[in-house]
Amino acid sequence: MKRTVRKRAADSDPDARTPTPRAKAADVSQVLHTPPPAPAQAEDDLAALAARHGLSVSGARPSLREYVRQLWARRHFISAFATAKLTAQYSEAKLGQVWQVATPLLNAAVYYFIFGILLGTSRGVSDYIPFLVTGVFVWTFTQNSIMSGTRAISGNLGLVRALHFPRAALPVSFALQQLQQLLFSMAALVVILLCFGVVPGVSWVLAFPVLLLQFVFNAGVSMVMARMGAKTPDIAQLMPFILRTWMYVSGVMWSIDSTLKHSNMPHVVKVLLESNPAAVYIDLMRFALIDSFKAHQLPHHVWAYALGWALLAGVGGFIYFWKAEETYGRG
């Protein structure tokens, strides 16, 4: 059949091949006639035809269960995308992947210079450098996840408009990239801890559940921000300020526990400071890694908070993101 079509084409071509002056082709759009109405079929017919053959409406949002299934089916894409982003990051640099470890170390050095030496925030905190560096690394994980989550959809419109995949794959993938980044930082952290005489203990194992809970929390918040950022890209301009404020109240470079002990703040403020999810994950990580950071320095019910925040953000964020699935990348 193919061949006959082509043959016909070849036969009829010479008649149509009159040489065309270029100018004529250019002003064609100006001399358009009103096109004749298309051969329209009755609407009922087409809908009925679609129903008879079991066709589905294009671009409709899948059910929540189906969505989870699709997302799970794309798990290899999610991890491959995260790893690819991570390795692409420093591919132009001469030192290459060394920057994965060097960047967090430099970050910690800057904070130590400002808060440890210049401002002297370290008073009353034992093992201040491990305390500070742990705080900075754990906080950076949350901060970068949320920041890249905000741009997950709005910064990848090309991808969203070209391929079909559950869009939640993007914010999750970015959160995963930050988790991988954090694992590099943790390797650097272990070296710092050992240098400052922190003794490895059984409690180091607790770092894993803390990381898992924090990852779920970050991914959840990323999904919320991704939906908001997709609708209003301006939010990405606002986020650095919100995140910086959040960092300063989260006890990254000061101890919430010892500050609260010496001040008479209202009870509400105390509860708010202690239940702040970032502070919860930071303190739990310090508790896990630093032997001089004792259990009594942790707020009450801290594991319940950690789990609660993870579930709330993770499940809530996922459902919130899914609700707008069909709108991403449009308009």
Partner: protein, 269 residues
């Protein structure tokens, strides 16, 4: 291929489809900042006053595509071809009407998922996974993709970052990755113009294969020759309106008369 015996199976049904773009920030007058504020505060009410323009890109288009068909979409620039294709893929919302599809139509193209800083090898993996192939599938087809792209014909280029490729090489690799998957309904937007003549021949061959295995192929192109070579049915869109729908030769003749003559004969290289 030609067993359209009893009742043909429809794969894509467009039922009276209208597509409207809304464009922000075309503020007719002064002060786009105030216009932006206005837009936020008053939302739906005063779309026009706040500088939102509506572009009616596709108007009341209906058609039925059947399994085994290859359909060309033609029309002058800005006539709504690509827009219609995106809507069929489910990537753009329709204003009125409905588009029904059998399975998931996919646009041919993985450009957006690929990263220039990664090696060709990593990009084959990434692109394959992005299109929804499983790891086993990618592993199976990896060699085929690389061979088809011809990237390694001139040495071991697949292990170099993609930013080092010439534009032709990169385009060939992209097409090879995109064409490696079997699609229910395949939508191609002017993809055949990539690479040298030898590669174009191979791509056309591949499109034919995909179509035999998959179902329906839509091809948007300004190259009437490649439409003639691959399609037996053509939809002609003009200013968003479906102007003609019929056998390739019939529609192309009318179209060529309309645009002022046929393409110049392709150069025999």
């Amino acid at each position: 291929m030609a067993e359209r015996n009893t009742e043909a199976i429809p794969t894509v049904i467009a039922d009276n489809v209208d597509i409207v773009y809304r464009v922000n920030g075309t503020g007719s007058g002064k002060g786009s900042a105030t216009a932006a504020l206005n837009r936020i505060l008053r939302r739906e009410k005063a779309e026009k006053a706040a500088g939102v323009r509506r572009v009616h890109a596709v108007k009341k288009v209906s058609f039925v595509a059947y399994k085994g068909e290859a359909i060309g979409l033609i029309g002058t620039n800005g006539s709504g071809k690509s827009t219609l294709l995106k809507a069929v893929a489910g990537l753009l919302p329709v204003e009125h009407g409905k588009i029904y599809t059998n399975g998931q139509p996919s646009l041919l193209g993985v450009n957006a998922a690929l990263m220039n800083d990664l090696t060709g090898e990593r990009n084959v993996w990434l692109g394959g996974l992005a299109m929804g192939m499983s790891r086993e599938q990618v592993r199976e087809r990896y060699q085929g993709i690389v061979d088809f792209s011809g990237i390694n014909d001139k040495g071991d280029f697949i292990t170099l970052p993609m930013r080092t490729y010439s534009s032709g090489m990169a385009a060939r690799l992209r097409f090879s990755i995109a064409a490696a998957k079997d699609h229910d309904v395949l939508l191609i937007d002017e993809a055949l113009a990539t690479g040298d003549r030898a590669f174009q021949k191979r791509s056309e061959e591949r499109i034919r294969e995909l179509r035999e295995r998959a179902g329906t192929v839509f091809l948007v192109s300004h190259n009437n020759k490649s439409i003639r070579d691959t399609c037996e049915r053509v939809l002609w869109l003009e200013r968003g309106v479906l102007r003609m729908d019929g056998p390739t030769e019939e529609v192309l003749e009318a179209y060529e008369a309309f645009t002022g003559g046929a393409d110049k004969p392709a150069k025999k290289a």
